[in-house]
């Protein structure tokens, strides 16, 4: 090795070491921030659910109890609420993908007149307070005899998923390079085969993200569901709202823990798709 290249290399060494240390420090800070802002509140919530008493300055409950769990699990109508939530939400997500994914495909892959208006109007659903939208919808639902029905509840929850289910997969479809589609057609794939074998698999991570967000949006939806579904269809979040008002805070904590079980379960179930897909998507360009 020549002298010049050796000196050049040794000169860069301390700089890269400093950089490495800096990135380690940053990593540690981010890690602790994540723990503080995400994990600590969750731990506190879980502790609260088992606490007999919990006075603020103290970092741990005065004593533990299963009393709240007992009350919640035996409260009348709870099972019905759980049943409603875990059946209605998947139906909403499934319907939403049937309605929105073809639109997402069109928005992502084609240019057509009025495309911007379609995108903007979808966005506007989330741009205004949702409650005004629901109030505007109620006369229509009355006219169609859908007030107080499951179909009415499904429609109201569907609205909150539309933005996720169109915008996110649309960018997923749009980010597939044209050359990949051309290559598939060149290899003999017709339009349907191109869709099923190339576009859909490559847009899958974005669809998975959209499905998770839609699920959470529908699952947590309380305002519209209450307006349309009460008193027959009280889903879990609605029941939680009334409990928060009527019972001690521990009661709500128990409910919050119960309410997060389906979302966590969903995330665990779908994580393979999320990450496998993300890897492929990241290597696209």
């Amino acid at each position: 090795m020549s002298v010049t290249s050796w000196t050049a290399r040794s000169a860069t060494r301390p700089a890269s070491r400093a950089l490495k240390i800096a990135s380690r420090v940053l990593e540690a800070i981010l890690f602790f921030a994540a723990v503080f802002f995400i994990v600590v509140p969750l731990v506190w919530l879980v502790m609260l659910a088992f606490a007999k008493g919990f006075n603020f300055p103290s970092l741990k409950p005065t004593s533990l109890t299963l009393q709240w769990w007992h009350t919640v699990l035996h409260s009348p109508g709870l099972l019905h609420s759980v049943f409603l939530s875990v059946t209605i939400t998947p139906v909403v997500v499934a319907l939403s993908s049937v309605v929105c994914l073809p639109a997402a495909y069109a928005l992502g892959r084609y240019d057509f007149p009025g495309k911007r208006i379609v995108l903007l109007s979808i966005f506007s659903i989330n741009a205004f307070p949702r409650i005004s939208l629901y109030i505007a919808m109620i006369p229509m639902l009355f006219a169609l005899n859908l007030m107080g029905t499951v179909i009415g509840v499904v429609i109201v929850q569907l609205i909150g998923t539309v933005l996720f289910m169109t915008w996110i997969p649309a960018t997923g479809f749009a980010s597939v390079p044209d050359a990949l589609v051309d290559a598939a057609r060149d290899a003999g794939a017709n339009k349907y085969q191109v869709f099923w074998r190339v576009l859909l698999p490559l847009a899958r991570p974005s669809i998975a993200v959209a499905a998770v967000l839609s699920f959470l949006a529908a699952f947590d939806e309380a305002q519209g569901t209450f307006l349309v579904g009460a008193p027959n269809y009280l889903t879990m979040p609605i029941r939680m709202y009334s409990l928060v008002l009527d019972y001690p805070v521990q009661f709500a904590a128990v409910f919050a823990v119960v309410l997060s079980i389906p979302s966590v379960a969903l995330l665990i179930l779908i994580r393979k798709h999320l990450f496998a897909g993300t890897n492929a998507a990241m290597h696209l360009r």
Binding site: P177, A179, L180, D182, A183, A184, R185, D186, A187, G188, A189, N190, Q193, R197, V198, P201, L202, N279, A280, A281, H283, L284
Partner: protein
């Protein structure tokens, strides 16, 4: 290693193919016949219509008018997926969610070939492109050159009758580019698939092609074998695109060229007499330079090192002349030198088209100021050149 050679190349015929984008003719009445198993390069700068033409052959675009015939069948109305063509794209275009093997077998699966046949074929093709150990890798785990080799295997898997190469080497670095194009040429000779290459790289065109089609603004400027086009460019545009050429004006006198300054540069190859002051083109390798401090007509203006040779920029009045010399430069910047020219190319005076009048057997394109008689008269200068 043998690959399936059942699919010999097809004949491709383009008749008056025209395509217009936003009222600009991207491809303007192109006629071309490509013989079975021939390797033809469409060469031109960006905007010359070469890629548009290739995409029309592949079926990704349809011509506004004209016919595209493969083995005598008009394929203009045949969609991409049913054309007997396969394309190798400029961008890396492997499907990132499929393994190398699945990328190659994609088209065969669509054709519902038996599994065992697909497996054999994939193994065969992987070994042809030298990537047998990579069949289970994802494209993202391969280098650019490897990816393009897989893409080549994928294109060949379909046993295309015409292989279309859309600047497939341009995304690779120089060494890989040369390696892959040599490989492609060798493979094409073995398999005999009719091949159309699109490129703006003159070196690539000269090295690979049986024939080159030079395109400019959607029109064919010249068609011919690489050496033929290099030695007898029909226009100044062709001359500058393939190799380089210095242009200047001057009058032709016995044994040389009289410049405006009055200096006469000797020309070795005989040429006829043309009245007036035609555009004269000289290739740098045809300029012989000798040091002559006392009476040299030219001055060395710049010396550019090119590795194993040097490029000199010589000046005499308003005439600038490029010359290639070996490592030994006859003088230094500002030195006076004497210049001999081995052979010259003559073009019409009007700088717009600069149609050649010296093309040997080619007829003079319309718009030339000089008649065909002159053209034949000057052909001698080209034919005797080594």
């Amino acid at each position: 290693m043998s690959i399936n050679t059942e699919s010999h190349g097809s004949e491709l015929l383009l008749e008056e193919v025209t395509k217009t984008f936003a009222s600009v003719a991207a491809v303007d009445h192109v006629n071309l016949r490509v013989a079975p198993s021939e390797f033809v390069t469409l060469l031109g700068p960006s905007g010359s219509g070469k890629t548009t033409l290739l995409r029309m052959i592949g079926g990704f675009l349809s011509p506004d008018s004209g016919r595209i015939l493969i083995d005598g069948n008009d394929v203009v109305d045949t969609p991409v997926e049913r054309r007997p063509t396969a394309m190798l794209f400029q961008q890396l275009s492997l499907w990132p969610h499929l393994s190398v093997a699945r990328n190659i077998s994609f088209g065969l699966e669509l054709r519902r070939r038996p599994k065992s046949e697909i497996a054999t074929r994939v193994a065969e093709l992987l070994s042809v492109v030298g990537l047998s150990d990579f069949q289970n890798r994802l494209p993202s785990q391969l280098s650019g050159g490897q990816q393009q080799r897989v893409a080549l295997a994928r294109a060949l898997a379909l046993e295309p009758r015409i292989l279309l190469l859309d600047e497939p080497f341009s995304a690779l670095d120089t060494k890989l580019r040369i390696e892959l194009r040599t490989f492609v040429r060798k493979l094409q000779r073995e398999v005999g698939t009719t091949t159309i290459l699109v490129t703006h790289d003159q070196e690539e065109a000269l090295e690979l092609s049986d024939r080159i089609v030079v395109l400019r603004e959607g029109r064919v400027v010249q068609i011919g074998e690489p050496t033929e086009i290099y030695d007898s460019p029909r226009t100044g545009f062709v001359a500058e695109f393939l190799g380089s050429m210095s242009f200047f004006s001057g009058s032709l006198v016995a044994g040389g060229i009289r410049l405006k300054s009055g200096d006469v540069i000797p020309v070795e190859q005989p040429f006829g007499h043309v009245p007036g002051t035609p555009q004269i083109g000289v290739r740098p390798e045809d300029v012989l330079v000798a040091a002559d401090e006392s009476s040299g007509a030219f001055v060395i203006e710049r010396i550019t090192r090119k590795g194993y040779f040097n490029e000199l920029t010589l000046r005499c009045g308003d005439v600038s002349l490029a010359a290639y010399v070996g490592r030994e430069v006859p003088g230094s910047v500002h030195s006076r030198v004497d210049v001999h020219i081995r052979t010259i190319h003559l073009f019409s005076e009007d700088g717009g088209t600069m149609d050649a009048i010296d093309g040997a057997e080619q007829h003079v394109a319309s718009g030339a100021d000089f008649g065909g008689a002159h053209a034949t008269e000057f052909s001698g200068a080209q034919e005797t050149r080594g």
